[in-house]
């Protein structure tokens, strides 16, 4: 495995040449959305300039080129995730839509009143609200796996929580705590209890090697914009037999085989779930992002982030001591590069505002995880999150900017 050449990677990202408030842009919000390399921008630009047409429709040359590029992107994603076939990948807008797809198709057929769905206290709203909607409509019980004091899942009562459950829906990596969950272990427990497993892999696919077969999951949602691709494209991997059996989600063009006045029959999987004109060029951009990440090697990406996360946590701890609390596991083997923290006496928004003056972009807020915020007992945190283009100089800039904030609000 080769180390990442971060200087060379940085040169691929035009936005990193930008200045904000006269300072070098230090982008530490990739857990929210990642920046895009020139390779992705070029692939999309080329599509629009040279071959743009709708897919799966025209028989003319450029339409066939676009169809090949769109389906090629599906194959790239399938290979990245360890899927057996490209047809196991359904393109969606993002993970939110992927989970809503499962909640509105598989769950409507398979989850009935009195059944349970198990989620965790560290879920993003995308993996909470669709199940709350189903629970309210169907009389389904929603159960929550709690957290340990070390910000890991507390699996003490896992068997009891899974008893009578139809689905375990869990994040592979927390967007707030950074915690990486042991999906293979959770899958084995869920399957033993007769429940299927949905994995929210929004924060995993961009940052570490993912293999849906090794996870032994049933559904996996991912999103393009966090993995160097454009916004508006993501997807759902699911076991082919599940996709075959699931009813369609959105009705319209492309998802049908035939339509008469009396009704319709559905297209083959995965197009059965891709109604209407899809974000074609975005899918092609995602394919280019997959190429870029594969070129770097996800093992190397993970090692880079482990090293840099250790550096960031150490710098924050050494510089600010007890005045700053980090919400997340200390062991870098159990965490990714999204690091949430709070100063004792400075609100997360004020911190974010002050560091922006130094060109440093960090997220402040509840990170779409309000149940988790309530568990942590805080209204909001500041979060700095790392990716392939970040280096120690970025962390140093963050620490200096935070020191300015600390001085500014000192009593």
């Amino acid at each position: 495995m080769k180390d990442l050449d971060v200087a060379r990677i940085q040169a691929d990202f035009p936005i990193l040449k930008r200045q904000v408030h006269g300072k070098r842009l230090v982008y530490l919000d990739s857990a929210s959305s990642a920046q895009k390399p020139i390779q992705v921008l070029d692939a999309m630009d080329r599509s629009y300039r040279e071959s743009y047409a709708n897919v799966h429709r025209g028989v003319y040359t450029i339409a066939e080129e676009m169809t090949a590029a769109y389906e090629g992107a599906r194959a790239k994603v399938a290979a990245l995730l360890g899927a057996a076939s490209p047809n196991e990948i359904v393109f969606t807008k993002n993970v939110t839509e992927a989970i809503n797809l499962v909640a509105n198709t598989w769950a409507r057929v398979n989850v009935r009143e009195g059944d349970a769905i198990v989620i965790t206290e560290m879920e993003h709203h995308a993996n909470v609200v669709p199940w709350q909607m189903l629970a309210a409509e169907r009389g389904v019980e929603l159960r929550w796996i709690p957290l340990t004091d070390d910000y890991l899942l507390d699996l003490t009562d896992l068997d009891r929580l899974l008893d009578g459950a139809k689905l375990l829906s869990v994040t592979a990596a927390s967007n707030v705590l950074g915690t990486i969950n042991d999906i293979s272990h959770l899958s084995a427990a869920a399957h033993a209890a007769g429940a299927l497993v949905l994995v929210d892999a929004a924060q995993a696919v961009p940052h570490l090697p993912v293999d849906v077969a090794a996870w032994d999951a049933d559904f996996v949602g991912f999103t393009g914009h966090k993995m160097l691709g454009p916004s508006g494209i993501g997807g759902l991997w699911a076991r082919p037999e599940l996709l075959e059996a699931m009813p369609p989600f959105l009705g319209g063009g492309e998802m049908i085989r035939d339509v008469t006045k009396d009704g319709f029959t559905t297209n083959d999987v995965p197009w059965k779930f891709e109604a209407g004109t899809m974000p074609i060029v975005e899918a092609i951009g995602l394919g280019a992002a997959v190429d870029y990440l594969t070129g770097l090697g996800l093992d190397a990406v993970r090692e880079h982030e482990k090293t840099l996360t250790t550096y960031m946590v150490d710098q924050l701890t050494n510089r600010f001591g007890a005045g700053l609390t980090i919400y997340g596991p200390r062991d870098v083997e159990q965490r990714g590069g999204a690091v949430s923290f709070l100063f004792d006496n400075i609100h997360a928004h004020d911190v974010s505002q002050v560091v922006d003056e130094s060109g440093v972009c960090v997220r402040a807020g509840h990170h779409c995880a309000k149940p988790l915020m309530r568990v942590l007992g805080v209204p909001a945190t500041t979060r700095a999150s790392l990716y392939v283009y970040n280096d120690e100089a970025d962390v140093d800039a963050l620490v200096e900017a935070l020191a300015t904030a600390e001085r500014f609000f000192a009593i």
């Binding site: 928004h349 505002q353 003056e357 807020g365 309000k370 915020m373 909001a380």
Partner: protein
């Protein structure tokens, strides 16, 4: 370019560090009202004692950023012992102060849609005379004017005021 000193004036930091009128009042006779910013989790709780058309006492609770909490503190000081009509006037003046930016941004096509309808009196003619008039009535609250240069923070400054509006509507 707007600097941090425009946003965090000393008097704002003073109200943040030493908020006025913190606490609770027995309900009833006081009226309790909660305001919440779902985007950032900031929370303002007001206890209003309204007697014969006068806000005889006010206490505040809740949590949030320096701007929301300082604005709450300054608001409590500004309306205490005022008549309900005077308090509504201050709400209108402050909301107008915060929306000056809105009209400027609208002209450059950058208006933040989330601010629409955030309170009554959100229309201002923006003329010098009007600004001076509002300024005279607002006193210390004028320090919050720097917030308008930081559009995402305007909601922080307005939270206490939309909550007060609701509280007065309910209590009277």
């Amino acid at each position: 370019m707007a600097g941090l000193e425009d946003l965090y004036r000393e008097i704002i930091l003073d109200h943040y560090r030493a908020p006025r009128n913190r606490g609770e009042l027995p309900v009833p006779p006081a009226h309790r009202v909660e305001g919440f910013n779902p985007l950032c989790g900031d929370e303002v709780i007001l206890y209003l004692e309204v007697d014969d058309g006068v806000v005889t006492d006010v206490r505040t609770a809740g949590q949030g950023c320096s701007i929301s909490q300082a604005s709450t503190s300054m608001m409590s000081a500004a309306i205490k012992a005022k008549t309900v009509e005077e308090a509504r006037g201050v709400i209108r003046a402050f909301t107008a102060l915060m929306s000056i930016h809105e009209s400027h941004l609208a002209e450059s096509g950058l208006a933040e849609s989330g601010l629409e309808g955030s309170g009554e009196g959100s229309v201002t003619d923006g003329s010098e005379g009007s600004s001076e008039l509002e300024g005279a009535r607002l006193g210390d609250l004028e320090a919050l004017q720097g917030v308008v240069k930081f559009p995402v923070r305007i909601k922080c400054a307005l939270l206490a005021w939309t909550t007060l509006q609701q509280g007065l509507d309910e209590a009277t």
